[in-house]
């Protein structure tokens, strides 16, 4: 006998390539997912904006050799405006700190301050000379809550606005009523720097870091969701279509192992899913680029993921791949059982999506929840579920928590073996032929 597995896989491929219905389902589904992701992202962003209402602590270190900075910083108008914005300013000079490095160290240890504004040595000099003052701003990104930086960044913008007004007023009232209007309009240039994980990333606004973070955090789950949904759709279709087209009975009397039929369809589904995902990954890259380029372009900054500790090493990638592969097998085995209860493709597709879509969405939203800072217990639970494991594993891998990942993968292996055993048993029995379920019939009965 020739290779029956290959024979089945080849036939599956021919069918998918030639059937416009199957293609459509595979293209439509991810297109529907895109807006959902968009909504999710927006929801996350508004959450971040929500947290912008809380108090933000901004530190100031004054290196000015003159005295105008003191006057401005102690201006009652300025301080009153800050208070109304829920910004509390911490004047580090009062704590005896006298250098940027010392300030950064202090803030890193302190942990509750989100930004540092440095008043340079030439502050007074620049005001007198009416030339723009360059202010360095350091943003401190919280590792477990990078989104909080949105709130900080918006306060800093307002802080700078206020500062400009106070400086302009001061110059016109006390130095030169006929001051250079260009200087009066824009007396400050603020230079953003980001501190992430104790590392100083110069000339880089925190939004860029956040973007990199989310790219890492989102790309994997999205790719995983694509892959899973394509594979599930395809597997369900391929099983149910054998029933719909009445080809199953003949196939089952072929002198081959029933497992071969199961594995042939599994392999076909995984192949199609991988091909589909590669296609979408390329599409998604364009999609994301179109969003991020305008922000990143002006800065002319390249972020080295390695430098900020967001990179994934070979071991991490291996663990991610194992998690994905095992999950795929486990889920598809279950889909194959579920779909064989359906007598037609449409029933099979709705049956499987009713069950798997919510689960995957839960996993997906959980990642946002984690981004906003939810307890890690849920994350650990999801690590042990085939549907969510490949979405969660990357997060653990990025933070190099390998032990728990490996333990969860062992559990996943066991789950996968059980799922395949059950499916093989099901395919070996006559249940595969007699299992019956059709939504229309059911509904009719209910209404009767």
């Amino acid at each position: 006998m020739r290779n029956a597995l290959l024979n089945i896989v080849k036939k599956e491929m021919k069918e998918i390539i030639r059937d416009p219905r199957l293609f459509l389902a595979m293209i439509l589904l991810p297109i529907l997912i895109m807006p959902i992701m968009g909504i999710a992202f927006q929801g996350f962003m508004s959450q971040a904006a929500e947290s912008a209402k809380g108090e933000v602590r901004i530190a100031v270190i004054n290196l000015d050799e003159g005295n105008i900075s003191e006057i401005i910083l102690s201006s009652p108008d300025f301080n009153l405006a800050l208070k109304s914005l829920n910004v509390s300013m911490i004047y580090l000079n009062n704590l005896g700190l006298d250098s940027v490095d010392a300030a950064i160290n202090y803030i890193t240890d302190n942990g509750s301050i989100r930004a540092l504004v440095v008043f340079p040595e030439n502050f007074t000099y620049c005001i007198n000379a009416q030339s723009p003052i360059k202010l360095d701003v350091y943003y401190f990104v919280e590792k477990n809550n990078p989104s909080s930086i949105t709130a900080v960044s918006s306060r800093i913008t307002i802080f700078m606005q206020l500062l400009k007004q106070v400086i302009s007023t001061y110059v016109i009232l006390n130095i030169d009523p006929n001051a250079n209007p260009v200087f009066i309009q824009n007396p400050l240039i603020s230079q953003p720097n980001t501190i992430y994980e104790g590392k100083v990333i110069r000339n880089t606004p925190p939004e860029l870091i956040m973007q990199a973070f989310f790219m890492q955090m989102l790309m994997m789950p999205i790719a995983v969701m694509m892959l899973l949904s394509i594979a599930i759709q395809f597997a369900a279709t391929s099983v149910a279509s054998e029933k719909e087209q009445k080809t199953l009975e003949i196939l089952l009397t072929m002198p081959i192992n029933r497992e071969t039929i199961l594995f042939g369809k599994l392999t076909g589904s995984i192949l199609v899913a991988v091909l589909g995902t590669i296609g979408y990954a390329i599409g998604f890259q364009f999609y994301m680029q179109s969003i991020t380029t305008p922000m990143g372009q002006g800065q002319g900054v390249q972020i080295n993921l390695n430098e900020i500790g967001l990179s994934i090493d070979p071991l991490g990638f291996t663990l991610m791949a194992i998690s994905l592969f095992l999950s795929l097998l486990a889920i598809l085995a279950l889909v194959m059982i579920l779909a064989s209860f359906a007598e037609d493709v449409r029933t099979a597709q709705s049956l499987t999506s009713f069950i798997f879509m919510p689960v995957m969405l839960v996993g997906f939203f959980a990642i946002f929840a984690i981004a906003i800072g939810v307890s890690p217990t849920w994350m650990q639970i999801m690590l042990f579920i085939p549907f969510t494991s490949p979405m969660i594993v990357p997060l653990y891998v990025i933070s190099k928590q390998y032990m728990i990942v490996i333990i969860s993968l062992l559990a996943l292996l066991l789950e996968t073996i059980i799922a395949i055993k059950i499916a093989a048993k099901f395919y070996g029995s006559e249940m595969i032929l007699s299992a019956r379920l059709r939504f229309k019939k059911k509904k009719k009965k209910e209404t009767e």
């Binding site: 059937d19 009975e249 003949i250 032929l433 007699s434």
Partner: protein
């Protein structure tokens, strides 16, 4: 001589049936709708397991040795389809690949299948463009191209016009003679059964109510044709 015995009880569907089919003969199963013909054939084809009783195909038990049985038989289900996206010839090849030992054997099977299908050039069109009759012919060809020891055909001519039925009927008869293949066939067409079958069994409500060569049954009942035999037997057990 190989023997094929069966006895099974399945709640109502098949309720204690015994019969033996001799090697090389065409055996007909007739009976009203729901009599249990399809169920019986599915059990022989290893698709369903009997609740009780025993079925042997050439001495091999369908329950304990399904893999051997599957190598001996070729089954045409009552409602069968072919993959609509495949071309007729691709379908034959796909099926032959499961059975042929090597590329040559597969090619031979496909060529033979193409010939007996009588579909000619249409074999290079996708199955979805076929009419019901063409599909049935393709499926019958698929069943026979592997030259099985035992061919099981559930209503091979159902829904076909006279010409298609005629074609299939003659093909079965020739085939059985030429290759000494045992054929078990079910049908609602008494003329057909009378024409092709060496022996028939009339099933009613899961039980055999008559068995024998068409001629014997007619003589026994003093009937002019099989239809009369069928009606009287079924009525008697109603």
């Amino acid at each position: 001589m190989q023997d094929l015995r069966k006895y099974f009880k399945k709640t109502k569907a098949v309720d204690g049936i015994n019969f033996t089919v001799r090697e090389g003969e065409i055996f007909g199963l007739i009976g009203p709708n729901g009599a249990g013909k399809t169920t019986t054939l599915r059990i022989i084809a290893t698709l369903l397991k009997p609740t009780s009783g025993e079925v042997k195909v050439m001495g091999h038990d369908v329950v304990s040795e399904p893999k051997i049985v599957r190598k001996l038989i070729s089954y045409l289900p009552e409602e069968a389809g072919a993959y609509p996206q495949l071309k007729g010839i691709e379908y034959l090849r796909f099926m032959a690949n499961f059975i042929g030992e090597n590329e040559d054997a597969v090619r031979e099977m496909v060529e033979f299948g193409a010939e007996i299908s009588g579909l000619g050039e249409r074999l290079h069109d996708k199955v979805k463009t076929y009419s019901k009759g063409m599909k049935r012919r393709l499926l019958v060809a698929r069943t026979l191209m592997v030259k099985p020891k035992v061919a099981i055909l559930d209503e091979p001519t159902s829904g076909l016009d006279i010409i298609h039925s005629f074609h299939i009927r003659n093909m079965l008869k020739d085939f059985s003679k030429k290759f000494n293949t045992t054929i078990i066939v079910s049908s609602h067409n008494m003329l057909e059964i009378e024409y092709i079958c060496d022996r028939v069994a009339i099933i009613h409500k899961g039980k055999i109510v008559a068995e024998g060569a068409p001629r014997e049954l007619k003589d026994e009942m003093n009937a002019s044709n099989l239809e009369e035999v069928f009606m009287r037997k079924v009525m008697a057990h109603a």
